[in-house]
Amino acid sequence: MSDVVKDPESDAVDVVDPAGEVAADRGAHAGDHHGGHDDHGHHTSLGLSNVKLAMWLFLGSECLLFGGLISTYMLYRNRHSDEVGPDQLWDIPFTSASSFVLLMSSLTMVLAVSAINRRDERNCRLWLTVTATLGGLFLAGQVYEFTTFYREGLGYTDSLFSSSFYTLTGFHGAHVAIGIIMLLSTVGMLAKGRITGDKGETVEMVGLYWHFVDVVWILIFTLVYLIPA
């Protein structure tokens, strides 16, 4: 055998304590879906936990999804009938208010993550619920807005502008809705003690997703509502 193989230092065997629990778990064991109890921190090659890395990758992919939808909207934003276009429809004060509500939900999300990092589950659940409520308020605003636009004559199939507007904002709304479901599920699972991975990390992942959805809305609000046609 070459001496490479026999090198004892670099090939330490798992340390097993008398109770039979594995005391030291080396990094390269099979992964699990939650990123789990033992692959965050310095055990992974990059020092970033698997779930966190995966979430960042997924959000990177989502950027291109919204990129495609926003590009389509920008291409078609001026292609509408003379009667119902942005100038007739937009209610900037109302949408500003609902945007403010969504942005505030990012703040409460941060408070939830901060609470779970202090192992304060009760406050974490509280802030998660507040975040979900603010998200729900935003969604309610979007439903109200869509209904108003529809009453004023902007159907989904009416013009290139309407199709691309409803598709873009609808996709964002769907992301918010999924986020709310994730938030409420996390509240429920925290309460019942059913979270199978690292609690702090789970809340942080939901938070990453939630902040992403908010950031996308800042882009949409600016490009769709604020920039004049």
Partner: protein
């Protein structure tokens, strides 16, 4: 030594021994028992083992390869003679659309995924991928998506808009059957599989490497596969947007592609090709990785300029995003765009050329062994170079406007995709077959397979250069004798040659099946392969063949690129040895002597193996979640209540998944395992 407590099937590999005392689940988790069996169909359907998933990816991909091949054969039969009558115009349109879709999305991509799944964890010294259940989800989403797409044949006909499905041509007025809906929804589903796989495999490559496995020590196949996953990660959402718009246009009367309303027909083209050009590299880069593994092994030399191969692969990955509009030169983009994309396209030939140089110099001066895997690898270099050169002729925009929509384009991309992609995948099959199944594929039939395929592909696609420059358009279901040309350029002659070539190629594929049959039939005389049949260099060989469920008895510590080579051979440069009598030569070259065989190294690893191996447990939820997607898709086409049913299944599966512990519980096994270490035991 006892590594884990349930080793019943360790050495049996794919053909596992049934041991009832091990495999019966006895308790329940929630309302379902954990599917902990290690044999039978349940051990495959619910597995999260990257090796089983890889094998299933490969098997399903080969089935679709045959389906796509039959479609190709029908196309060539139709075009063999003027005024062909084998297919109607309508069927011909469906045939070429589904041929391309099947080969690209259901054969080459999943076959590359098969190798990536199987090899990446082994090559980086990991026990599985980062998210084993997501890996199972990718597989089943792909399988159900592929089946869904092909059910269109029985439900009113396949898609007929060409594989790039230009809208508005693919809108209802021009394509009234449900074929395009099946196509759009089917690709949406397989796209989910690719996206999930990309997230999973990138995380695996970046985060699960064994100690010492720095990025610049990663085996080259893993590198290329990782670049591909990044391309998938960013390309898939773009086609997703385009497909959603097409689905909404066709099923819910959206107006994205309604030209009467003022829609821009270039919108689809841009979105499609922003995805579609990276897709080209998604197809060829895995094969580039495979030949970069195969050539050094059979040349007995390290890969020439490993960093150059890595960085040229990454460069292809970057520049691949800036060349998409060269597919649209004929659509009137304007001189500035055309010039920019023309130059970018010429630039991307540079990193590709770097790779060809590296492969050639890897072989230069080596002790070449012409095994079947090596023949396929050399075939790739030659054929891909031809395809690459005709590709450069497209980058010159004036020349491209002549070639657009002729058979010259068809010739080019088949040399690239078949010559660059498929030949590499076959090289990988012959190279890794002993690793995966424990036996080398029969070399005699393998060589038949290679020569018939290589001759067949040149007979099929070579004449298409001539046919195309003569002006025969692609996607026309008939050609006529009128203006067929005289003498050497006669269309009739070359069309017949191409059709004959297709069947030569098909015979080559049949020889592949014979090779598999001869190797694995009951009573086969092909002996089990030694652990190291090719004198290989990278980490996946440092375990048994087929590998144990936990891959490595202990996590390897990596000290060098080509780790296994350096464990087998010692550098004796400059030493006075009888094998190297000439001291001057000994100074000038690195001299290696073999100090260990892989059998010895693996036996040593087994002796020092870990006490406790922690493996993730199988799960029902990935296949259930994957099943919900085609249900939703049928609902979109036929009746909306099915959407609700599919969504309900999906929600159930997601919550079941989220609430499921990552590891099987003790009580899931019968009998409960003994001893203190049972907690680490998850599944075998």
């Amino acid at each position: 030594m006892a590594i884990i407590e349930r080793p019943a099937s360790e050495s049996a590999g794919a053909v596992e021994v049934y041991d009832p005392s091990v495999a019966t689940p006895s308790s329940s988790y929630g309302f379902l028992r954990r599917p902990v069996e290690s044999t039978g169909w349940r051990s495959w359907a619910f597995t999260v083992d990257h090796k089983k998933i890889g094998i299933m990816y490969g098997v399903v991909a080969m089935v679709f390869f045959i389906v796509g091949g039959i479609e190709a054969g029908l196309i060539r039969l139709q075009l063999a003679q003027p005024e062909g009558t084998v297919l109607s115009a309508d069927y011909y349109n469906q045939m070429f659309t589904m041929h391309a879709t099947t080969m690209v999305f259901l054969f080459v991509m999943p076959m590359a995924a098969a190798f990536a799944n199987y090899m990446i964890p082994l090559q980086i010294g990991a026990r599985d991928v980062a998210f084993p259940r997501l890996n199972a989800l990718s597989l089943w989403v792909f399988v159900f998506g592929g089946i869904f797409l092909n059910t269109s044949w029985f439900l009113g006909g396949g898609a007929d808009g060409g594989w790039f499905m230009y809208a508005p041509n693919s809108d209802v007025p021009f394509s009234p059957s449900n074929g395009v809906d099946f196509w759009a929804l089917g690709l949406q589903i397989t796209g989910i599989a690719s996206l999930v796989g990309a997230v999973n495999l990138i995380t695996t490559c970046l985060n699960m490497r064994a100690p010492g496995m720095s990025l610049m020590r990663m085996p080259i196949f893993t590198w290329m596969a990782m670049v591909v996953q990044f391309l998938l990660l960013f390309a898939m959402p773009v086609i997703t947007v385009a497909l959603f718009m097409l689905i909404f246009q066709r099923n819910y009367d959206a107006t994205f592609f309604s030209v009467a309303e003022g829609a821009d027909p270039l919108l689809w083209q841009h979105l499609f090709w922003i995805f579609g050009h990276p897709e080209v590299y998604i197809i060829v880069l895995p094969s580039f990785g495979i030949v970069s593994e195969v050539l050094p092994v059979f040349s007995k030399k390290p890969l020439f300029g490993y960093p150059f191969v890595v960085f040229s692969g990454a460069a292809i990955g970057f520049v691949g995003w800036g060349v998409w509009a060269h597919h649209m030169f004929a659509s009137g983009l304007g001189p500035v765009s055309v010039a920019v994309f023309s130059v970018a396209t010429m630039a991307i030939a540079v990193p590709t050329g770097v790779k060809i140089i590296n492969w050639t110099l890897t072989m230069w001066g080596g002790k070449l062994q012409f095994t079947t895997a090596m023949l396929f690898a050399i075939g790739l270099i030659v054929q891909f170079t031809i395809g690459g050169l005709s590709g450069v002729t497209h980058s010159v925009a004036p020349s491209d406007t002549q070639q657009t929509d002729t058979y010259y384009i068809v010739a080019h991309f088949h040399y690239v995709i078949f010559g660059g992609g498929v030949l590499g995948l076959f090289a990988g099959m012959y190279y890794w077959w002993p690793k995966i199944f424990g036996k080398c594929l029969h070399e005699g039939w393998g060589k038949q397979n290679f020569w018939w395929m290589i001759v067949g592909m040149n007979l099929t696609f070579g004449p298409m250069h001539i046919i195309g420059l003569q002006g025969q358009p692609r996607r026309m279901y008939q050609w006529t004798e009128f203006r067929a040309g005289e003498g050497f350029f006669n269309l009739g002659f070359w069309n017949m040659v191409a059709t004959i070539g297709t069947f030569v190629l098909a015979i080559g594929v049949v020889f592949w099946m014979i090779a598999v049959w001869v190797t694995h039939r009951p009573g086969s005389k092909v002996p089990p392969a030694p652990l190291d049949p090719w004198d290989a260099r990278s980490l996946e060989w440092m375990t048994t063949s087929p590998p144990k469920p936990h891959n490595f008895d202990r996590t390897p510590t990596v000290h060098a690129l080509d780790e296994v080579f350096h464990r087998k051979y010692e550098d004796v440069t400059g030493e006075d040895l009888p094998e190297f009598p000439d001291p001057a030569r000994a100074e000038a070259h690195h001299n290696y002597v073999k100090v260990a065989t892989l059998e010895e190294i693996v036996a040593e690893e087994e002796r020092l193996g870990d006490e406790h191996v922690h493996l993730p447990a199988p799960s029902y939820w990935p296949i259930v979640l994957a099943f919900s997607l085609p249900v939703i898709a049928y609902g979109v086409i036929y009746t909306s209540w099915l959407i609700a049913v599919g969504a309900a299944i999906a929600v159930l599966a997601i919550f079941g998944w989220a609430l499921e512990p990552a590891d099987a519980e003790e009580s899931d096994f019968e009998p409960p395992s003994e001893g203190e270490s049972s907690k680490e035991l998850a599944h075998v």
